[in-house]
């Protein structure tokens, strides 16, 4: 069996499962955020029961600090729900950050676990060897009540990325390269499994970027077999026990894709689909905003890369560009302060703000006007994703975001720093 099949079988109390089979599985954790929470709480009240406290995680991130009265009411409903039932895992403003980063930092995500969340990028925890996937609000409410959910066992696709990655090439480029190859529905209903030297040599942060964007290929989950890097990270962090799951030698894959990491370059996904992938060095596009943040690329490793580009170039952000830096969590923010990265960003005229989803989903704090273009370390460049329907989002890695912020046009960092 593949990793996804094994995790589903274990959680359904079965010896084995096969693709397309429908199983009822026990869930380890269920997460909702401030946007998906309110509808979930309304549904939950219909059940006339209490939530399973240790399994429920509530995270305020999309519209906090509140952008208006409606979002304030929404956040309040989460606070009240947490209080009413005494849910211990409620991460409010100032104590948390972007939901997926918190699920990982706080030790909910771990190898072999089955985790669902009312947010599509819940697939991020595949980077730690978990099967995690997005669901809707009503389902999240049902899981809080019952601790179970039905799944159709997905077919699995194997992605092998061998070879050495070049300078300024990151996990973001690997996953964009793959999505560029297979398309935004290339993994519809499927589980992606990632293998190969280039994947093994990535730190956790870059692995999270890859699993995070599995949904942009339509996948149910994107799993990387856990190794020492993951076990080390989890020490003194993970809640409870966990047991790593690996695919069997004779696991059956729907298909296998192979890539040579040395051929992957810093890329951008041009509007309006993540599959529109082009080398950053090959396009000539002026930008108005550069956004560094989100569950995709808002971690300390991402901030370090971007700060190094700003420092290396020795220049400030281009006068026609607003650069916005949003660390994905409070602890990323603190670490960035300790390392002096916040100072580097501010010295370069970037605007730095506390953790929120905000601009990533076109919510607030960085919304684009008509005709504006943004190079962004986020995961979606859909029509109107970051603002006006006639604005444009170019997805890229943090090094490209920083290099582009300096030049005012989409730029491969190699051309800026070594050209």
């Amino acid at each position: 069996m593949t990793i996804a099949e094994k995790i589903l079988a274990a959680h359904a109390g079965k010896e084995s499962v096969s693709p397309k089979e429908i199983v009822d599985a026990k869930i380890d954790y269920v997460m909702v955020n401030d946007v998906t929470g309110l509808p979930a709480f309304e549904v939950f009240e219909e059940f006339d029961t209490t939530p399973i406290l240790e399994k429920s995680v509530l995270i305020q991130d999309h519209y906090v600090p509140n952008k208006d009265v409606a979002s304030a009411e929404q956040a309040k409903s989460m606070r009240e729900f947490a209080k009413r039932y005494g849910i211990p895992n409620h991460f409010d403003v100032g104590r948390g950050g972007v939901c997926h980063q918190i699920m990982i930092e706080e030790g909910f995500a771990a190898p072999g676990r089955l985790i669902v969340g009312a947010d599509s990028h819940t697939c991020s925890y595949g980077a730690l060897g978990a099967l995690s996937t997005g669901i809707g609000s009503s389902e999240a409410a049902a899981v809080m009540a019952t601790g179970e959910l039905w799944f159709k066992v997905p077919e699995t696709q194997k992605f092998v990325v061998d070879g050495e990655l070049g300078k300024y090439v990151m996990g973001k480029d690997i996953i964009l390269h793959i999505i560029g190859d297979i398309g935004v529905s290339g993994s519809l209903y499927k589980s992606m499994e990632f293998y190969g030297y280039a994947i093994e040599s990535l730190h956790l942060s870059d692995r999270i970027t890859i699993s995070n964007m599995a949904i942009e290929a339509g996948a149910k989950c994107g799993i990387i077999p856990p190794d020492e890097a993951i076990f080390d990270y989890l020490k003194n962090r993970v809640i409870g026990e966990y047991s790593p799951v690996y695919a069997d030698e004779d696991a059956e894959y729907k298909n296998t894709f192979e890539y040579d990491a040395s051929k992957i370059v810093p890329v951008v996904a041009t509007p309006h689909l993540p599959e529109n992938v082009t080398p950053a060095s090959e396009i000539n596009v002026q930008i108005d905003q550069a956004y560094l943040g989100s569950c995709t690329n808002g971690r300390i490793e991402d901030l370090r890369v971007a700060a190094a580009v700003l420092k290396g170039a020795g220049k400030s952000v281009h006068p026609d560009v607003r650069m916005i830096v949003v660390p994905a969590s409070r602890s990323v923010f603190e670490q960035a302060m300790r390392e002096g990265l916040i100072g580097i960003f501010m010295d370069a005229d970037a605007y730095v703000a506390g953790p929120t989803c905000g601009a990533c989903l076109g919510g607030y704090m960085g919304v684009l006007a008509e005709g504006e273009r943004c190079v962004s370390s986020t995961n979606r460049n859909f029509i109107g994703r970051m603002g006006h329907p006639n604005s444009e989002v170019y997805l890229a890695n943090p090094a490209v975001v920083a290099a582009s912020a300096i030049t005012g046009r989409i730029t491969d960092p190699t051309d800026l720093l070594e050209g």
């Binding site: 946007v35 998906t36 309304e42 599509s120 389902e139 935004v184 519809l188 689909l273 029509i383």
Partner: protein, 163 residues
């Protein structure tokens, strides 16, 4: 769920994501009617104004991709949409729709805006009454038909009672 419906078509292309169905700035309520006022606002401003109860959406592959927001199928139900037909759906959208009682049909149908389709869920047949073209689709597994009929809320209540 009604076994037979007839409705007017709204035609969409492929990869319609949930940001298009309901933009993020309106995600401050779960109310179907409120959400319906802004359905497809960025890409088809006429939709919310002209849609009427009983209409049908026909789209290309990968309908409902992107964000997990249940607000998307809620907005469509609020707008009176009775069924969405597409060759394939994004999985979270699929689950959300079935859970809240919006039937989806996996089928590649040729239809233009304003065509009238007749859908027979029992027999798995669709007829485009404007072109007379007929289509068949595989029926849903019993498990999902039950879920669609009973709804997730009722289903969960039963589960909790059985415990």
């Amino acid at each position: 769920m009604e076994k037979y419906i007839k409705g007017r078509v709204w035609r969409f292309s492929e990869n319609v994501d949930t940001d298009q169905i309901i933009p993020a700035i309106y995600l401050v309520t779960g109310d179907r009617q409120e959400l319906a006022k802004h359905a497809f606002e960025n890409v088809r401003p006429d939709f919310a104004k002209d849609v009427s109860d009983g209409d049908i959406i026909v789209a290309g592959p990968n309908f409902g991709s992107g964000s997990s927001r249940e607000h998307a199928p809620r907005a469509l139900l609020g707008a009176g949409i009775k069924c969405v037909i597409a060759p394939s759906f994004a999985r979270i959208f699929y689950r959300n729709s079935i859970n809240i009682g919006l039937p989806l049909v996996e089928c590649d149908v040729d239809a233009a805006d304003g065509d009238i389709l007749a859908i027979d869920f029992g027999d798995g047949k669709i007829v485009n009454t404007n072109t007379s073209a007929g289509y068949t689709f595989p029926s849903l597994p019993d498990f999902l038909v039950d879920l669609l009929d009973v709804g997730l809320i009722e289903n969960t209540k039963r589960k909790l009672k059985g415990k």
